[in-house]
Symmetry: C2
DNA sequence: TCAATAGTGTCTGTGAGACACTATATC
DNA sequence: GATATAGTGTCTCACAGACACTATTGA
């Protein structure tokens, strides 16, 4: 720790906020109204303040950008990005956080009065986002896909009360696959602590009403709910 | 990105280098010969330099502390720690990396001439390490345990040539459990790309010689090799 | 009645856990 | 021979995938 080559830098905390709406995975983006990358879309974020810890900063940004209470959302550290040229304004290292939200009505205009919008992740990938945010989004989606397998993260995409169909829909949209509803039902029912029955029901537009559930207390799925052939 | 409350800070890159030796998991620690925490053990690390990316810095520290070529070791970003008071010298945020090494003869004295040593992780947990390095080590061990389940990471703990017993020993030590040698053999043999037969054999002190293997090309285990009841 | 969604039951193949048995080395 | 480690075969149970069937609503 005694070397003299170190550099002073600013630390950004950027958020990849994912949700499922209209049969596809969306990410919250803001339109930049300052240089650099003016007019382009970017992930919401901001700089770390003097007396802040990283999770605090992430939660603060979440509130500022979406108006949501960070404690009600799933929020976890994703990774840190530090290429020397990643920000043309100077040396900025970014700690990215992954947030998972239920289908929200519409992002509240942040206190920064920036234009926030939900964008399908398919549109956001492929170099469309400012800075290295496309790469961050890639990693966020990959993390979400993986965590659905062995954790109860899927419930974080759902409203407080949800049906088994809702939950299955999350898996199908995030993974981009189709799942057998009957096998999925059995799997969820047999996993202790994944979902809790409430006794209530919700009628769809047509068809038999579905039982409503609440998140269970389990954090991990044991055994996991595996995709067919990852990394194969 | 326009707020004015941001802080300039230094970024540390710290390494949790794990290996298996003598039936227990060890971590590489250095004895600090400067304040703060003088005389205490800490994870090796250093500050990010002006033109460095994070993986570069991690690899540089690895070479400086162990004399090893970073490209031959498994090295991955673990997490970033930024509590405002984590370093008494001022605002320092640390990006931690997890490195996995085979059982090395002895750590080479780094170019910093610091005293490096392998310490059993059991001894290093519980507030023995400087800064928040105990917490970092906790997270590193947890990550390693989890990745053994669904990736081929265990081979990174082994020398280039290893037996199935060696590989099983890694699982047993890292997980702290016993595995059935016969079922383990079958599992490894049936997982394409986990290990490659070399045709050579190695005789133990007593008993039948064991076939030697090399790492395969697969990165993921499919299906995974699950512990009994995680998070239960 | 039909259409649509919710939910149960059954069969089958794969693979994990348990464990008997065989193989090959040193002493 | 004894002992120690390496490796194979077999049985059983749990569970995933496939899919026939029943249940409950609105039109």
């Amino acid at each position: 720790m005694a070397d003299r080559h170190h550099v002073l830098l600013r630390l950004a905390v950027d958020l990849a906020i994912l949700t499922v709406r209209e049969n596809c995975l969306h990410v919250l983006v803001i339109e930049r109204d300052n240089e650099p990358y003016r007019g382009q879309y970017a992930l919401p974020g901001g700089f770390l303040r003097a007396d802040e810890d990283l999770p605090e900063a992430a939660e603060r940004e979440l509130v500022e950008e979406t108006g949501l209470d960070g404690r009600s959302l799933h929020l976890e550290q994703l990774a840190t990005y530090g290429a020397p040229d990643r920000d043309p304004r100077g040396r900025v290292v970014s700690v990215a956080y992954l947030a998972i939200a239920p289908d929200l009505p519409i992002p509240v205009a942040g206190s920064d009065a920036q234009t926030a919008a939900w964008m399908p992740v398919g549109n956001a990938l492929g170099g469309k986002l400012a800075f290295d945010h496309g790469r961050i989004l890639d990693d966020a989606v990959e993390r979400a896909k993986n965590k659905l397998e062995y954790t109860t993260l899927a419930t974080a995409f759902c409203a407080p009360l949800f049906t088994i169909s809702d939950l299955r829909h999350v898996y199908e949209v995030v993974w981009g696959t189709e799942l057998d509803p009957r096998n999925f039902n059995r799997k969820v029912a047999n996993t202790q602590g994944f979902v809790l029955p409430t006794g209530d029901k919700r009628a769809p537009e047509t068809g038999r009403p579905a039982a409503l559930y609440r998140r269970g207390t389990a954090g991990y799925l044991n055994p996991p709910l595996l995709r067919n052939g990852i990394g194969a």
